[in-house]
């Protein structure tokens, strides 16, 4: 009995050590991949056409999804917040409160999570499939730098497109909030937005906007890393797409937490 308990403990300990080792190995490979990205980023020539194509795919093709999510986000937040504010007799604060919540936190994080699901998994699956079907090798042997062509363009496109998608989502969410306010009230469009603009400060907008670049970079680099290093054939394609979403989403929360901490050092 005691021998079996001891061997169970040994096995658990061995598993724990192997998991920790795996985590640090993965982290070091991701760091190496990221450094490789920065090295290739400044090498000429820049693959401009591919960058524009990826920006279109990542940006324009995500607009409907991000727009619908943003609208629901604004509407639901307004409907949920109203009863509490009514209790405190602060219903008139509804537009301002919703706007600050959306722009500082909910808009960027929810949009980034939606993009981690749509864009991150797409990049992960596409690159993994290219790897499995030897398309990346084919690029390499034809003298084209596949890292520069595939990874640099996609990571740059996500880094620049996610902030634009967040701005779009915030705008639609505010419109959704305006609709939400008017479900049980009568506030004009001008009044609603003048209250929103009046309460929003540079300190609300700037940190929220800056962190979205990091969200975009994280989604792009994780998607590319998982796809580019995929193996195990077609099984690997699914795994890469899946782990790209999981890790990118996790990283979005980690970056958000760090951004809040850093912002709180400068903004009172």
């Amino acid at each position: 009995m005691s021998t079996s308990t001891s061997s169970d403990n040994d096995r658990k300990e061995a598993n724990l050590i192997s998991s920790i080792r795996e985590f640090f190995t993965e982290l070091s490979l991701l760091t190496k991949f990221t450094l490789h990205f920065f090295k290739e980023l400044f090498k000429l020539p820049f693959e401009f056409n591919e960058f524009i194509k990826q920006s279109y795919i990542i940006g324009c093709k995500s607009l409907p999804l991000v727009g619908i999510t943003g609208f629901i986000m604004g509407l639901v937040l307004t409907i949920q917040a109203r009863p509490t504010l009514v209790q405190f007799g602060a219903e008139s604060w509804l537009p301002a409160m919703v706007a600050v919540s959306l722009i500082r936190e909910i808009g960027p994080v929810i949009t980034a999570l939606i993009c981690a699901g749509k864009v991150g998994s797409g990049i992960g699956a596409e690159l993994a499939s290219m790897k499995v079907t030897e398309q990346i090798d084919a690029m390499e042997v034809s003298g084209v730098n596949p890292f520069k062509y595939i990874v640099v363009t996609r990571v740059l496109a996500t880094t620049l497109m996610i902030p634009l998608l967040v701005i779009f989502a915030d705008a639609i969410a505010l419109y959704g909030s305006y609709i939400g306010v008017n479900l049980k009230g009568d506030v004009s469009f001008q009044l609603f937005f003048s209250q929103v603009i009046e309460k929003l400060t540079f300190q609300d907008l700037f940190p929220a906007f800056i962190k979205t670049f990091f969200f975009g970079f994280a989604i792009g680099i994780i998607g590319c890393y998982k796809g580019y290093n995929s193996n195990k054939g077609t099984e690997g394609v699914g795994k890469s797409a899946n782990s790209a979403v999981v890790y990118a989403s996790l990283l979005v929360f980690v970056i958000d937490m760090m951004a809040v901490q850093i912002t709180s050092l400068f903004v009172k």
Binding site: E126, M130, T133, E134, Q135, D137, A138, M139, E140, V141, S142, G143, V144, N145
Partner: protein, 250 residues
């Protein structure tokens, strides 16, 4: 018909010396040496998993060898910087077993892709090159289609056209007729020979298809346990006393 005559002038552009490659404990290539003569077609035979594909991937440094030297156009590839290696790779064509066509690009874009770094070519010249290459493999009429709309044989031919567009001096074929019916396989084999004669390239062809080996080879090398067990022309090996070698021909 065929390329059965043995080429004796060894003024080649590829030489492999004592190449070794292992994956963990598994020794795949153990002391491989070969010399490819100008205009020569070498066919490499061997059982599945004997390291044939690993060998040609080592030549273009898709896989790095553990030991040994690969001399390409008088330069050891392990001494080359990544830019030099990319320049060198443009002189080598590699036809992948799957064709490795870029499925997000049309047939035209697939062929234009290897030319993207040739800044001295105008769009008109690129169009001419693309159309010529497609005409060589009889695929001019599918120029605006996507790879997914093509049959297996067409995909192989397109892969060949894309590889040949840079006018490589050495061609490496990884099982070019795998998955094709005997008639299409024969067509591809003849096409390989035609293209090789037109451009005077040297080739290494990995295949299990003996009809392909018969049509394309000047010399056949048989890989066994990480070493070249024997070599000779098709006719010589067909009559080999070694039963294992002869089994490939039966």
């Amino acid at each position: 018909m065929g390329a059965t005559e043995k080429i004796t002038t060894l003024n080649g552009s590829l030489e492999i010396k004592h190449l070794k490659k292992s994956f963990n404990e598994n020794v795949v290539l153990d002391d491989i040496s070969l010399k490819l003569a100008k205009g020569e077609n070498i066919v490499i035979l061997g059982k599945s998993g004997s390291g044939k594909s690993v060998l040609i991937k080592c030549i273009v440094k898709l896989i790095t060898a553990d030991e040994g030297e690969i001399i390409l156009f008088d330069k050891n590839i392990s001494d080359l910087s990544s830019d030099e290696l990319n320049t060198m790779r443009k002189k080598i064509g590699f036809l992948f077993q799957s064709g490795a066509l870029y499925d997000s690009m049309s047939v035209r874009e697939n062929l234009e892709f290897p030319l993207r770094n040739k800044k001295d070519l105008s769009q008109e010249e690129i169009n001419t090159l693309v159309e010529e290459s497609l005409a060589d493999v009889g695929l001019l009429d599918v120029i605006d289609k996507m790879p997914s709309e093509l049959s297996g044989g067409m995909r192989k031919r397109l892969g060949l056209a894309r590889t040949m567009i840079l006018k490589p001096e050495i061609m490496l074929y990884d099982e070019p007729t795998t998955g094709l019916d005997p008639i299409t396989s024969k067509e591809i084999s003849k096409l390989i020979l035609e293209v090789q004669k037109k451009n005077n390239t040297s080739s290494i062809i990995i295949t299990h298809d003996m009809e392909c080996a018969k049509i394309t080879s000047n010399r056949i090398m048989v890989l066994k346990d990480g070493l070249f067990a024997t070599e000779g022309t098709y006719k010589e090996l067909e009559k080999s006393e070694d039963e294992w070698v002869r089994s490939f021909f039966e």
